[in-house]
C-alpha cells in the first residue's frame, strides 16, 4: 500500500526495517568482539563501525590485518567485498537520483544490504510514491538499523576485552565469513564462483602478498558470469 504522507512513509519504513534488529545487533556485537581480539582499541573499532558501516568488508579487513598484509591489499580485499554496493547504487538511482546532493550523500552513506533490499522492493511495488516519501521510507528503514550497528559494536568491543584468549576466538572470523557466505549460494552460478574461489586460493596460496586472493577472486567472478550466461542460454 502506498503511504499518504512522508510521516506515514517513515513509519512504514521503520516497521519494514525492524526485523533486521535480530540480525544487525548480534552481528555488530560479534564485530566488536572479534576486532578487539584482533588488537583494535575501542576508538578504532568504533571508527570502523561508524565510518565504514559495512559488516562483511570490516571482517575482511580484520582478517587481512591479522595476517599483517600490506595496507593496499587490506583495502583491495575489503573494497572488493563492497563492490556489490555499486549494483545497489545503480538500481536505487532511478528511484532516488532526483534528490538534492546532500540527501544523495546521506542515502549513499546508509546504503547497506538491508536498506537496499527493503527499499527497492517497496519502490518497485509503488513506483508512483513521491520522492520525499521514498526518502522518508528509506530513512525509516535505517532508523532501527544504523544506531544498533554502532551501539552493539561498542558493546562487543567492551565484551571482547573481557574474553580470555583460550576461547579459540581466532576462528570466529572464518566462522563468521562462512556464515555470511552460506546464504549467498542462491544459484548454481554463485556456487560455481565460490568453488573456483576456494580451489584457486588454496592452489595459489604460495604466492606472496596475498596476490592469490585477487587472482582467485577474478577467476571466480569470470566463472560466475560465464555460468550465468550458460544457464540463460540453456533455460528449459
Amino acid at each position: 500500500m502506498s503511504p499518504s504522507n512522508p510521516k506515514a512513509a517513515y513509519w512504514q519504513g521503520f516497521r519494514a526495517g525492524s526485523p533486521f534488529i535480530l540480525v544487525v545487533a548480534p552481528f555488530a556485537l560479534l564485530f566488536g568482539v572479534v576486532a578487539t581480539e584482533a588488537g583494535l582499541n575501542i576508538a578504532e573499532v568504533m571508527g570502523m563501525a561508524i565510518l565504514v558501516i559495512a559488516g562483511a568488508a570490516q571482517f575482511a579487513a580484520l582478517a587481512q590485518m591479522g595476517e599483517n598484509a600490506p595496507t593496499y591489499l587490506v583495502l583491495a580485499t575489503a573494497l572488493a567485498v563492497n563492490l556489490r554496493m555499486a549494483l545497489y547504487s545503480a538500481s536505487i538511482t532511478p528511484h532516488m537520483g532526483g534528490l538534492s546532493l546532500p540527501k544523495r550523500v546521506l542515502v549513499a552513506y546508509l546504503l547497506v544490504d538491508q536498506s537496499y533490499a527493503v527499499s527497492v522492493q517497496k519502490f518497485e511495488e509503488t513506483p508512483k510514491m513521491p520522492l520525499n516519501q521514498k526518502l522518508a521510507f528509506y530513512l525509516g528503514v535505517m532508523t532501527p538499523i544504523a544506531p544498533l550497528w554502532y551501539g552493539f559494536s561498542l558493546v562487543g568491543a567492551l565484551v571482547g576485552q573481557a574474553i580470555p584468549p583460550e576461547y579459540a576466538l581466532d576462528f570466529a572470523v572464518p566462522i563468521t565469513f562462512l556464515a555470511i557466505t552460506g546464504p549467498m549460494m542462491r544459484t548454481p552460478a554463485h556456487l560455481a564462483a565460490a568453488f573456483v574461489s576456494v580451489v584457486a586460493s588454496l592452489l595459489l596460496a604460495f604466492l606472496p602478498y596475498n596476490l592469490w586472493l585477487l587472482i582467485a577472486a577474478a577467476l571466480a567472478m569470470m566463472t560466475g558470469a560465464q555460468v550465468e550466461l550458460f544457464m540463460e542460454r540453456h533455460k528449459p
Binding site: 540480525v23 548480534p26 588488537g39 583494535l40 582499541n41 578504532e44 570502523m48 565510518l51 565504514v52 562483511a56 568488508a57 575482511a60 579487513a61 591479522g66 599483517n68 595496507t71 587490506v74 583495502l75 572488493a80 567485498v81 563492497n82 563492490l83 554496493m85 549494483l87 547504487s89 545503480a90 536505487i92 538511482t93 532511478p94 537520483g97 544523495r104 552513506y109 546504503l111 579459540a168 581466532d170 576462528f171 572464518p174 566462522i175 563468521t176 565469513f177 562462512l178 556464515a179 555470511i180 557466505t181 552460506g182 546464504p183 549467498m184 549460494m185 552460478a189 565460490a194 574461489s197 586460493s201 596460496a205 586472493l213 577472486a217 577467476l219 571466480a220 567472478m221 566463472t223 558470469a225
Partner: protein, 109 residues
C-alpha cells in the same frame, strides 16, 4: 596484528572513503546511465568470489594452530557453512559453528 595505530587509522579512513565512493557511484556521479551487461554480470559475483577465497586458507591452515590443519576447525567450518546455506540465518550459523568447534575440541581433545 602488528600494525601501528597510524596504519590502522589509515586503513579505516581509506576503507571508509572507498566504500562511500562505491555507494555514491551511481547515485552521485554516474547517474541514470546504462552499464554494459557483462560488467553488471561480473559485479554480481564479487562477494561470492572474494569471501570463499579469503576464508579457505584460514580454515585449512588456521592461525590459532600456527597453520597446522585442525580437524575440530574443519568440522566447525563445515557446520557453519551448512547452517548458513540451509537456514540463511547468519547468526544461527555463527553460533552453530562455534558450538561445533567447542564440541569437537572437547571430543577430539
Amino acid at each position: 596484528m602488528t600494525q601501528s595505530s597510524t596504519t590502522i587509522w589509515t586503513i579505516i579512513i581509506l576503507l571508509a572513503i572507498g566504500t562511500f565512493l562505491i555507494r555514491f557511484s551511481f547515485l552521485g556521479l554516474i547517474g541514470n546511465r546504462d552499464l554494459p551487461g557483462w560488467f553488471l554480470r561480473h559485479l554480481r559475483y564479487t562477494p561470492v568470489a572474494v569471501m570463499p577465497g579469503l576464508i579457505a586458507p584460514l580454515v585449512v591452515w588456521p592461525a590459532g594452530t600456527n597453520g597446522e590443519t585442525d580437524p575440530a576447525r574443519l568440522i566447525a567450518a563445515a557446520v557453519a557453512l551448512a547452517i548458513g546455506i540451509i537456514t540463511k540465518n547468519v547468526v544461527g550459523a555463527v553460533i552453530g559453528g562455534m558450538a561445533a568447534l567447542y564440541g569437537a575440541q572437547f571430543l577430539i581433545g
